[in-house]
């Protein structure tokens, strides 16, 4: 893990709502794993705290994140220009590949809205021999990112792109039509969606791993601000930043 000032390489508007920011970092390119995040100080004085972002992809020494402009941090970030520098701390947290083993056959990557963020990087590093189905859901088409994904199946709540309904409805329909052997779900998105996917996974006896989001200050376990309640065990809480962000969904109480 390292703290570094990195130059912004480019911005790309992926949808009318979602921006991709690419910067240069040899350190992250060499060390980061899919599912890890970086904690960014978007400006010197305001906002005060860093903001966590999933690593969207890494190509060569170009590292990218995606975001929609929803709060103070993303507003400042969206005003940056190519050549400006940002202060990046990372890579932080655990990663998806540590949950990829022989105990399952087919992985389902399930992204909801901006929660699709870790999946392009995971797609690029995923073991070649293992089967993957990719699903992306969102309220409407402007929240659907497909870049970097392999044959994503799309669902929108308003039917403006792909299947009309929730991404879970689409998954249920597909699995009923063509069952897969020993699935494992990897999900990232709004809590309500992750909860629904986790419940469904439990119903069909599949394992499910979710990358959780939480307000954090430091991103490295110092502030203890990002606690998640555990479902069982001797520890009541764990930290999303350090023990996660990825948790087996039956081990935690999703908020």
């Amino acid at each position: 893990m390292k703290q570094e000032l990195v130059p912004i390489h480019s911005f790309q508007q992926l949808t009318p709502e979602i921006l991709e920011l690419t910067f240069i970092s040899d350190h992250l390119a060499a060390t980061a794993q899919p599912g890890q995040f970086i904690n960014i100080r978007v400006d010197n004085s305001f906002p005060l705290l860093r903001r966590p972002f999933s690593i969207f992809n890494i190509e060569g020494n170009k590292v990218s994140i995606i975001f929609n402009v929803i709060g103070t941090g993303t507003k400042v970030l969206a005003r940056k220009r190519t050549g400006d520098t940002i202060d990046v701390l990372g890579p932080c947290g655990n990663h998806f590949l540590s949950f990829v083993d022989d105990s399952f056959d087919t992985a389902l990557f399930i992204g909801g809205g901006i929660g699709v963020a870790p999946f392009p990087f995971l797609t690029s590093r995923y073991p070649a021999g293992k089967k993957v189905l990719t699903y992306v859901g969102g309220r409407q088409k402007d929240l659907i990112v497909q870049k970097g994904l392999r044959d994503p199946r799309i669902a929108t709540d308003d039917g403006s792109l792909g299947f009309s309904g929730t991404v879970l409805d689409l998954i249920k329909r597909d699995l009923a039509a063509s069952p897969v052997s020993r699935p494992r779900f990897f999900v990232c998105g709004p809590t309500r969606m992750m909860k629904a996917v986790a419940e469904y996974a439990k119903e069909i006896g599949a394992s499910c791993y979710a990358s959780l989001e939480c307000d954090m200050a430091c991103g490295i376990g110092l502030c203890q601000g990002c606690n998640i309640e555990m479902a069982a065990g001797d520890k009541k809480y764990r930290l999303v930043c350090k023990d996660g962000t990825i948790f087996e969904t039956q081990s935690v109480k999703l908020p």
Binding site: M1, K2, Q3, R41, F46, P47, L48, L49, R50, L89, C214, D215, M216, A217, C218, I220, G221, L222, C223, Q224, G225, C226, N227, I228, E229, K235, K236, Y237, K242, P255
Partner: protein, 313 residues
Amino acid sequence: MIESFKLRDVEFKNRVLVASGTFGYGDEVPDLVDISRLGGIMTKSLSMKPRDGNPNPRITETSSGMLNSIGLANIGVHKFINEKLPALRAFDTRIIANIAASSVEEYCAVLELLDAESGVHGFEINVSCPNVKEGGLSFGTDPALVSRITRELRRRTAKPLIIKLTPNVTHISEFARACEAEGADALSVINTVIGMAVNIHKRTPKIATTTGGLSGPAVKPIALAKVYETVNAVKIPVIGIGGIVTWEDAAEFLIVGASMVQIGTANFINPSTGVTVAEGLKDFCAKNGLSDVGALVRTLQTNKTISVVDSWL
């Protein structure tokens, strides 16, 4: 350039420490910070038994600050001694154990366990915790209780004993005098300021405990005023805390009269803030022809005319 400072017979290599609860037990950051360049580490608060802490959400950002309600989550003193202290002993800096407890007896018991350990160079007592026996009011807002805690702990240790005072009282000087009278070696000023933030869409508090502790640059003027009040009330050293991000911030505290400073919230943004602050103070003193960083302490000029232009600089 002399940077060191002594409390009892414990020498700190410089006057910049990291505040309790903002640096873990020192073992999370070795990649990011050269710990040997810090004056010392105030450990995360320790209680007799492990504490889970409060429910989420525990933190929220406010204007130039952050509000927290971590709830003194910690691994407990036994686990600290067995699992954390061996690694801390290897660090070339001073380790001050911060103690938080819910009764006077617990404060004493935790201190006695730690006092026997090498590698624990002193104590900082967090008196801002709820007093379970007295209905959960903070120990730190009752001068008689602060006095009693200081007296009981002083009897039990010859190591430096620092009391960390809360700003959430009318006259912090009253508490400072009580600690001095009972033999405290120094005072840490200030702990967090009680604050609140509201989500207007849900009409709920932004943190689970409704109110919490405000820290960061937002509290620096409050902290400076409390340090000023304290140094004018007692002769023992004061350790200034509150919103220090840059060496200039730290210099303000020293000039007002703090003998040392602690870096808190800034560690969450840049874990190496303490190192850059110590370096900056040293350079500033060198440029001003001072041979000891301590020469800045309590040099505030209040008899000079302050022009409008100066006050904006």
